[in-house]
């Protein structure tokens, strides 16, 4: 009984999509609501106090792409990492390890599943803000925004795969999420332009890979950015390739999966 080559990967992807779709209140609606709360509170408090891009962009408008991208990144990470750690801890990962799925099949399915969840949540945040915020909306470079959203979700999906494989318990995954992903996201310029920071923190922000994803994504919205979007795109693409190589190597070696 022979199967269709590549169909195994598609089934694993389908399973990953079904998994988060079946609990969509938790995986889609809740993060959209969280992002909206950030938007309402921060825009209300800071709209009249913070100037970004020399006053060319309202703070609330500035906040929207930051929150959209933050939602994309956090949910892409959460999807891949929680799926893997749950399967590892409950033991049902064996159903994925027994079939003839290659490391690339597994990588592609988990990362694509994570990307879809991240992009769906990001789109949800974007649509709701369009409805809620007054005034016309014009996106300067939509293709650039999409490119950064896709690459950003792929990077965080890959980080989710790495963390899900590495962590042996939920506590370790929470540490990865709370002590690495969360600070890097919050300190990447979601809520501010790095030009408003003191020189030391401004320089330090350049070592944060998440900064380039958010800054490039924001360029797609306004045509304005803290640094050249071409440089950001290059660095983000390099990060995506390096992390994909790490994740594929872990899967190929069976690191913490095949003993």
């Amino acid at each position: 009984m022979r199967g269709v080559v590549g169909a195994g990967m598609l089934t694993l992807l389908q399973k990953e999509l079904l998994r988060f779709w079946k609990v969509s209140f938790q995986t889609i609606a809740a993060p959209v609501l969280t992002a909206l709360l950030y938007l309402l509170i921060f825009s209300h408090v800071l709209e009249s106090r913070v100037s970004v891009f020399n006053g060319q962009v309202r703070y609330t408008d500035f906040l929207v792409p930051g929150l959209v991208m933050m939602s994309v990144l956090q949910n892409a990470f959460a999807n891949a990492s929680s799926s893997l750690i749950q399967s590892k801890i409950t033991g049902n990962l064996v159903f994925v390890l027994l079939p003839p799925l290659s490391p690339l099949d597994m990588y592609a399915a988990y990362v694509l599943g994570a990307m879809v969840r991240g992009l769906v949540v990001g789109l949800g945040v974007f649509i709701v803000t369009l409805v809620l915020l007054p005034g016309p909306f014009h996106m300067a470079h939509p293709i650039v925004a999409i490119a950064f959203a896709v690459l950003g979700s792929a990077i965080l999906g890959t980080l989710g795969v790495i963390a899900g494989i590495w962590a042996d318990k939920f506590d370790e995954l929470a540490a990865f999420q709370n002590f690495l992903i969360m600070p890097l996201t919050f300190l990447s310029g979601v809520f501010y332009s790095i030009h408003t920071l003191p020189p030391f923190w401004q320089a330090l922000s350049h070592f944060n890979p998440f900064f380039y994803m958010i800054d490039g994504f924001r360029y797609g919205f306004f045509g304005l950015s803290d640094i050249d979007p071409g440089i950001s795109l290059g660095l983000v693409a390099i990060a995506a390739i390096v992390l994909a190589a790490v994740a594929l190597s872990m899967l190929a070696r069976g690191y913490k999966l095949r003993h």
Binding site: L10, T11, F95, P99, R258, H259
Partner: protein, 318 residues
């Protein structure tokens, strides 16, 4: 006319070793299972059975040696090896997000079989799960979850099926129907490798058995030969003492109850005559033929591990 080439073994293992830290889980194991066999893999906990199965399934990587399924190496040709193998894992694991039908359909898809509904319906019927097809996995009893695990292992119709303690937690009636189904698969040409703690199951089902201890195979023979090699009787005599000359045959004693090992019914005559001549009153006496459990216990109790397959059956005939 040239001689026909020997069939490719269903499972072939050569020099397989695996260590987990200080524990030598497998030590230089050789094994060959022919296509169509119903093969039993027995041994106490920690003997290395699950490690051996895990290496065949690609869940564990051997330190040394090779393993292949129908000629496909489990490492270098893992896609074909895994396609040829169905494994029922020992742990009762399930994905709580899905129904029974979704679980089987997804598992089928992993093997590239995305339109496998007819076989999935047949599996559901044979495993008595048709009524539960749309129930979430969480809602099933332990026995039902176990049957879904069997279904998942069979969903791609593998020619070689490994069942690692498949009937643990399954009630008697369902166990019978499960074995009837597995027997049918074996008759249809599937090779079955079974590990079980129910030795009467292994005795009834398997035509060849390997017994493992401390990471080595210590006995490997047909079930019939194993039983005949250890043929004999166990006599349970309830009396104050045994006749002179018969105490050496005593294997165990519980108060006035003596357990004696006899080689044949002819010896029983001698025992009865000795009891009569010494005037020893018998309160009770029972006889039992050797079964696989006794063979197993004798091998496990008496065998030092050996390296060569040829010496596997050099066990004390106590």
């Amino acid at each position: 006319m040239p001689a026909a080439a020997p069939p490719v073994p269903a499972v072939e293992i050569a020099g397989l070793s695996k260590r987990f830290g200080e524990v030598q889980a497998l030590c230089d194991v050789d094994l060959r299972v022919a296509p169509g066999e119903f093969f039993g893999l027995l041994g106490p906990n920690g003997a290395g059975k699950t490690t051996l199965i895990s290496i065949l399934a690609g869940l564990t990587r051997a330190d040394r040696g090779t393993a292949s399924i129908l000629g496909h190496d489990v490492v270098s040709d893992y896609r074909e090896a895994r396609r040829a193998l169905g494994v029922v894992p020992q742990e009762l694991v399930f994905d709580p997000f899905f129904t029974v039908r979704e679980t089987l359909s997804i598992q089928s898809g992993y093997f590239g079989l995305r339109h496998n509904d007819a076989w999935i319906d047949e599996l559901l019927f044979h495993l008595d799960l048709t009524q539960k097809a749309d129930a979430n996995m969480r809602a099933l009893s332990g026995g039902m979850k176990r049957r879904v695990l069997v279904g998942q292992a069979l969903v791609h119709k593998p020619p070689v099926i490994v069942l690692d303690e498949p009937t643990a937690g399954v009630d008697v009636e369902l166990r019978q129907s499960l074995w009837a189904f597995i027997r049918k698969l074996n008759r249809d040409g599937h090779t079955i490798i079974l590990t079980t703690h129910y030795l009467e199951e292994a005795e009834a089902l398997c035509n060849r058995i390997a017994m493992m201890k401390a990471g080595r195979i210590v006995a490997l023979d047909t079930t019939r030969h194993l039983l005949s090699r250890f043929s004999g009787l166990t006599v349970r005599v309830s009396s104050e003492r045994l006749p002179e000359g018969w105490t050496a045959r005593e294997r165990r004693r519980e108060g006035n109850v003596h357990y004696l090992a006899l080689e044949s019914y002819a010896e029983l005559e001698g025992l009865l005559a000795a009891l009569r001549s010494e005037g020893i009153a018998i309160d009770e006496m029972t006889l039992a033929d050797t079964d696989l459990e006794q063979v197993f216990l004798r091998i496990m109790a008496g065998t030092e591990t050996t390296d060569e397959a040829s010496r596997m059956l050099e066990v004390p005939e106590s």
